[in-house]
Symmetry: D5
Subunit: 149 residues, 10 copies
């Protein structure tokens, strides 16, 4: 049982998803969570609460021990400091171009602090548009004020 | 006239803003644009159309030639591949943790393509919350499908 | 079936191509696409529409499941930020030497925007020349104007 | 005279161009060279033959000694191994995604060798298109075969 | 007034401190804050509330406008991803050697989350010891649990 | 026997810990050491004295030869100069923001020297707090004065 | 047959060479090429013409299919941007110290252009010397003039 | 006198050379040294013996104190680990492609050791060739055997 | 026989050493060489003369073919430009802090040249000291003067 | 007074040394310290005790305030992770090649710990040798044992 790794579980999820013809939206609905969080936890970038881990293995027909692995706190690693995939690079570019702007506006609206990336949620939606549909990404993070002591 | 650089104009804007006690929201309102775009263009990360450049120098009391500089297409440069400022780093971290998730959901909702970072807009707002107010960042970019030829 | 990876399919394609003595031009002709796009999609840098994936496996005698893999949106990764192979490095060098020039001319001809690398196509041809034949690379990308909002 | 640097000449060119309301196409036409080469040489990425250097200072009203500087072989330096400006980055991305493809097709069409980046020319043109005009970049470089000895 | 930069204020503080023979402990006591926070804010790594900025300029005899600069949210930048100064490198080494251990124990004691570096405080004290006095560094940060949504 | 590697022993420890439902605190108590040191040594970032190595294999039911491996001086390697896991990155960020401050205060309290990262100990504790419990990290290292000769 | 990789062929060559007690000079003589080119092509840094590939497998007793692999255009990759092996590093150091000098002399002797690394050959010889024998490295590359268009 | 820096002397040399219309070959001849060494020492990559420093300032009409600076042992620094100038990059590429080959042949001809880059000399010459003249670079370095003790 | 790699021999040496309870000092004594050189050659950072390779396999009971591998000139590679292991990092730090000092003193005592790292030997010894024993590292390298030609 | 920076003092020392024709050995003798430490402290890599700072300014004829600067704890920074100057690079190379060997021998002779780079001293001497004089570098650092707690 304890030989099952994160990588094994990720591979089992991708395989079961493909074989069953599922979508991330569908898996998310079946475990009662959002698609962003569901994909992220399935890929090992978030830990699942016990009941969600159980629901996931039920939805995908995975072995019971996978539920344990899905509950562990993963070590979040990305290999490329600057991502090469164009779809992900554009997000990196947005941080490079607009990061100082977001910082200035947070300071203007809240004071000296940041948007949390931990107490955080996000959604990705498709918005119809006559000149071509648009991707909408909404992020919400708790404002955290710097401590002075 | 032509000796005025981007850096000069940025410094004049920051100085005039501080002296007049203005905010980015206020400057944005006075030129009829969004705060995100206004800050970004004022800091040299976007080019202004002629009328917006004119409105900006009027609102801030800048010399006329600054309007020309604000209309030029800037070369967008950021020095740190991985930003160190905590407020900006958290955005970088979000790209590292959730970038593959956003990619997977774009492919699921649209097909093989990306969210444009050029035909793009963004807002930053403050959302009240009983457990602590939250920063909301909304991004909208045109979906661009990969060409097959 | 679902154990077949991109790497497996790439290896099968290279192997079948060599065994059958095919060329990229020939494979491209048999699936009705350009050689640049065909090689790129075969090597996992582009996703194939279903019919092209089917044509590819027919042309090369690959197992049916390879067609599914060829349709998936790949994560485009290159390992070397600065390529070492001389043939590819020269292209990198051209971007270093002439990149600012291409940028300046795009701004002069179109305004503040870029050439898309997504809505994009390219060809590579041989041009006879008395002092030695020349490689001609033609790129065409949609002009994308920066948004102001 | 000999105190005039490349950087001085580049600044004088940009200043004279702005003051006179010239374009790169216009300057190129007045010296009888292509816009790509003209911009590149003016920005210190190529050396000018004596007559072209003379024509350039005449067209822009520069001091005589600038012609000497424009004839020197510059040391071509770019600071960013991975460019951040979106317009230039897209070109870098094209090399990352399609570099191995261009290499494969050159080998298929010519043999073991490369496209020269020295015996090389390039053009940038605007192509009208009903779905949005396109940027066309054409590169032509002499094929160089690897030596075997 | 607005010409005064962060760097100017930092230099004035260091100069006034040296001239008056002050210590960071003494300056901290005079403004009623901790030495760690006081040094950090004085060096531009934290923003000061208005009254603390006022107390700082009074304690050090700085010009009034320095108080405004001390209240601004600084962009926190460090140049060396891996610090070379031995005193600072040892702290970096501790993160390299014990970082995964701190992570494991936080997860064991709290669950899936992190120690905040924003809602955070720290002290540095000298502890007498018969085999040689010891440096004690105490860090305290709010536990932040990852969101699941 | 001598084929057993560090990696093998680490895997055996993690496996035995999970199967037996142990915690790092519990294992540490059973060998009479602190949790920080115990985790660190178990993960190959510290060498164990013979009796502690023996106690560890007894507590976890490991084969005898694992005790030898646990006593060897490991080569301490971390792959990421800048860690990506958010829990560990926050510690890195603290070094970036507060490193110069810790250095200044050590020099003020002790003289020209450093805090040892070798003659060093650390604890991680949970501190209850009405606004949310806090992580407390306490580090203690011997002060080492620079030699002058 | 097509399962044989470059790495397989390289290993077979090294093994056959050691078993037969051959030298690179000897192998080179047997295929009628220079030792530099022969080693380079054998190690996968150059492609062999068909007859030389055939002669190589004959000389070393390799399987027939190895001849096909030796004819393919390799992707030339080196892992270390700055080589660590002292013998290779010295060559890198020579480029760092004398690179600008070679550039200046090429421009003085030829004009604005470079020495080709493609239409290129090299030899390594031993030169007797009373104070210690010397290594002589001779490089010859075609002068390529920059194009102006 | 002692305010004169290496950078000052380098600038004076370049200026005097240009004003007098000299060449590196000419300067080298006038001081009785090779062009490679002369350029290298003039640019601060080698130290000059006293008489050569004197001859240099005489040949170029430099102030006397420049002779002292030219005799100092310079700290040899190059900013780009991978050079971008095409003429210098090609030399870097040759080290990447042929470095292991040179190493193998040195070991075959001499034993376990290296070619010195210190007890070293080099020449650059133009060789006429019907298909285009060639650059010839000849390097000679003392063989240094590894010590065994 | 020729399938035995450097890595195999290194592993055999470490295994035999552990099984036989040997020390590097002991192995070095048995082959009549210094401990530094012996460890270095055994770990693949130096080549052994034939008789020392023979003595090594006799002392450790290795198969005969290992002697051949130990005689080959290794390619010396280290993976970390900046080492992370604290014991090795301290040596790197010494080079960073005292490197320019060693350089200045070599120039003062010898002239323009360097200490060879090839014609080089080193020892590591334990020196008793009332305040704690000390590690003594002694390096000796031949002075190499820069050539002027 | 307080405007005098480390850089100013370093420049004054180098200037005074050159003007007075002093050597590092001579300056060291006049302040009663070793040449290595004297050069290092004079160049801002070590802090001087008050009396040595006073002796230094007396020996070199520097203004009084320079003594204060020489007593401050410097932030030790080196710009090049891998040094390019050949004399310093060789030391870096020695760490790369022999670092693991020194580590192994320290562990064999002392146990699990390191050689301190803080409680540390070093000398550089010239040793006559019939085959060419040698540079001798002797380092001595206190052994520091890892703590277990």
């Amino acid at each position: 049982m304890d030989k099952m790794t994160r990588e094994d579980v990720t591979a089992m999820i991708l395989s079961a998803k493909r074989q069953a013809g599922l979508t991330w939206e569908g898996i998310a609905a079946s475990i009662g969570m959002s698609p962003v969080w569901t994909h992220s936890a399935a890929m090992g970038m978030n830990a699942m609460p016990a009941e969600k881990a159980q629901a996931t293995i039920t939805a995908l027909g995975l072995p019971q021990e996978a539920a344990l692995v899905l509950q562990e706190s993963p070590t979040k690693i990305w290999q490329q400091a600057v991502p090469t995939d164009p779809c992900i690079y554009r997000l990196y570019e947005i941080v490079g171009v607009y990061g100082p702007t977001i910082k200035a506006l947070i300071h203007e609206k809240f004071g000296d602090g940041i948007m949390s990336a931990i107490d955080f949620d996000m959604s990705v939606t498709r918005v119809e548009h006559p000149k071509g549909d648009r991707v909408k990404v909404e992020m919400s993070g708790k404002y955290l004020a710097y401590n002075a002591w």
